[in-house]
């Protein structure tokens, strides 16, 4: 399935789910709109646009959609996937291992995957983690998680 079709279906499905949630809120009346009034309008709009986008993606413009979908070669795709996985891992591990270690690990692993040598990746990781920790935790007074240490 092309990305175009995924986007269209996701909009339609997301709009429908949002509508269900919005209808659970107090709607009020036209003269005294409640908390659910605006979200309901937005959800109806999202469903309508999702429907139009789905029709276009499946019936009207399938050729355009297939032209747009440019499959990424395996190597660049794996670099992006690794970057996203490392981003998610950073978010998940930050409260447990603290900022300095999470940052150093993130930089070292990503640089290594993007083609840097082991020494360069390790050196950049230590310097960037220490530098950013000093900048944010000491100079800007941001309480960054320190982990169990």
């Amino acid at each position: 399935m092309t990305a175009e079709r995924v986007l269209a279906l996701a909009t339609l499905l997301g709009g429908a789910l949002f509508l269900i949630q919005a209808l659970a809120l107090p709607y009020g009346s036209a003269a005294r709109p409640g908390a659910g009034f605006f979200p309901t309008l937005v959800a109806v709009f999202a469903c309508a646009i999702g429907f139009v986008a789905t029709v276009r993606a499946f019936l009207v413009a399938p050729r355009t959609a297939s032209q747009r979908a440019m499959p990424l070669p395996p190597e660049p795709r794996s670099r992006v996937i690794v970057a996203v996985v490392l981003l998610l891992a950073f978010c998940a591990f930050l409260p447990w291992i603290g900022y300095p270690l999470a940052a150093a690990g993130f930089v070292a692993l990503l640089l290594r995957r993007l083609g840097a040598s082991s020494q360069a990746a390790a050196l950049t990781a230590v310097l960037s983690a220490a530098g950013s920790y000093y900048l944010f935790a000491f100079l800007l007074d941001v309480p960054l998680p320190r982990g169990p240490w």
């Binding site: 978010c91 800007l140 941001v142």
Partner: protein, 503 residues
């Protein structure tokens, strides 16, 4: 306070050592950001927003705006020298700019681009002085229905004018509006779509969304390429002087580009990009040798480079006078003001003149700083491109992560950053411009509030709301822009068989 008196007061504010330093740092960072392909001004502004929390609001605004218009300057450098636009507003410049480099006239192209940007910045500042004051005077009379019409009209115009298809733009508007409803209801304080999360009750923070859509997404694109170094042409200082003929040919395009840019900046949409295309097309139309455009015509550099800087200034008018941002960059500036407890709008000029006039004067100083910085230091800025892309990408990602966390010391902001980063990457692969989402997210809560207030005033009558004279006028323009082109196409299609039949 009149415009000239206000500007004098503004210079007194902007020339304090702190504000001067903030302006210098802003334009310097902006130029570097503009030079680097992949990291746009919006991502850089979002990235540096947390570092401005400790500053005075005027100082923060001066620095962030400096990044914005500094990036417009810097973007031209890579377009001209490397045939790679530093940011979207410099795409058109490479058509003739790079051809000039191939002919050995890179220095002249860079000098004309810098002078054109300076002139446009100056024209823009004069425009802001008068247009923002005038609009603010008018806007004092606006009520909720007019503000609702402006937000709705702005979104419709942006959707039509963005570089995306109308369907895609509307999908993004829907997503932005939906995300904007998360959190506490502004009237009843009821929690909406928070799923029990205390942090979500405060709503979805704008900055991680922008950092994700512009910063993380752009870096993921860079990550696709792995370890790459750009090949950069070198420029000597003595080559920077354009010939007398080149100056003469550039004067009128700079003037036209400045005005076109400023006026385009007033319209909701990707003004900095749009203005360059309009200015380039205009130059081609008025030129006696339009066929030579694309072969290294200096007019093709002068006009778009002036236009993108003029548009940057024009985009400040609705932000400063109405408190309504129509682009992601001005949305960040609004976010910065709100974080500092200020609400831009018609009353800000009279109630906080040091912010408004200090900001306007700083733009003039910033443009002057850019002129004296850019020409002699062009070699230094270009050498930034020699930094390996994979190192740059990794460091920017780390700064995005720590920057997003530092906003509220919240893990939720980190997750939002990553989610919108992946979403932004997908949009880029589909060649969809994410700006309708950002603008809808910013304008959504304002739209909801003004719609509910308006319906309360009109006792629930949509007809009464839309038939108010000012509301009708404000909405007529975007509606005409939205339905005009398809209507014309339909009429032409209907006319064609009749013509064929008659023939």
């Amino acid at each position: 306070m009149g415009p000239l008196e206000g500007l004098a007061y503004g210079f007194a504010v902007a020339l304090t050592p702190t504000n001067l330093l903030a302006c210098f740092v802003g334009v310097l960072v902006g130029t570097v950001v503009g030079v680097l392909p992949g990291i746009g001004p919006v991502g850089a502004m979002a990235l540096l927003l947390p570092s401005t929390f400790a500053l005075h609001p005027a100082t923060a605004l001066i620095m962030l705006a400096g990044i914005y218009y500094g990036a417009m300057y810097g973007g031209s450098t890579t377009s001209i020298l490397v045939n790679v636009p530093g940011e979207a507003g410099s795409v058109v410049t490479l058509l003739d700019g790079y051809q000039m480099t191939r002919k050995g006239r890179a220095g002249a192209a860079l000098a004309v681009a810098a002078v054109g940007s300076f002139v446009a910045g100056t024209v823009g500042v004069i425009g802001i002085m008068f247009a923002a004051s005038w609009l603010a005077d008018v806007a004092v009379r606006f009520g909720p229905p007019e503000y609702f019409a402006i937000t709705l009209g702005g979104m419709l115009l942006l959707s039509r004018l963005s570089s995306t298809s109308l369907t895609h733009a509307f999908v993004l508007v829907a997503v932005g509006l939906a995300v904007g409803t998360v959190g506490m209801d502004p009237v009843s304080a009821l929690r909406r779509f928070t799923f029990g999360s205390v942090q979500l009750a405060q709503g979805v923070e704008l900055v991680p969304v922008i950092m994700g859509l512009y910063g993380v997404a752009e870096v993921l694109i860079l990550a696709e390429e792995g370890a790459v170094r750009a090949h950069v042409a070198s420029v000597r200082l003595r080559e920077l002087l354009p010939t007398r003929a080149e100056w003469q040919r550039s004067a009128a395009p700079i003037a036209r580009g400045s005005v076109v840019g400023f006026l385009t900046g007033l319209i909701p949409g990707p003004a900095a990009v749009l203005s360059t295309f309009i200015a380039y097309a205009l130059e081609k139309r008025v030129s006696k040798t339009p066929e030579k455009f694309g072969t290294g015509m200096i007019e093709g550099v002068a006009a778009p480079e002036s236009a993108n800087n003029g548009a940057t200034a024009g985009a400040m008018v609705p932000l400063l006078s109405l408190g309504i941002p129509f682009s992601p960059a001005t949305a960040i500036l609004l976010g910065a003001l709100v974080i500092h407890g200020l609400q831009p709008g018609p009353l800000m000029i009279s109630q906080r003149p040091e912010i408004f006039w200090g900001f306007v004067a700083s733009m003039y100083i910033g443009n002057f700083l850019l002129l004296i910085l850019n020409l002699p230091l062009v070699g230094v800025f270009v050498s930034v491109l020699r930094l390996p892309q994979h190192v740059l990408a990794t460091l920017v990602l780390l700064l995005c992560l720590v920057g997003a966390y530092s906003l509220n010391n919240s893990l939720l902001d980190l997750w939002i950053l990553v989610i919108f980063g992946v979403f932004g990457y997908a949009l880029r692969k589909l060649r969809v411009d994410p700006s309708p989402l950002v603008v809808a997210l910013v304008l959504g809560p304002m739209m909801e509030k003004t719609l509910r207030q308006s319906l309360f005033i009109t006792r629930g009558s949509i007809v009464d709301l839309l038939s108010r004279p000012l509301t009708a006028v404000i909405l007529a323009v975007p509606v005409a822009v939205l339905i005009g082109p398809p209507l014309l196409r339909l009429l032409r299609r209907r006319g064609r068989p009749a013509e064929v039949g008659a023939a």
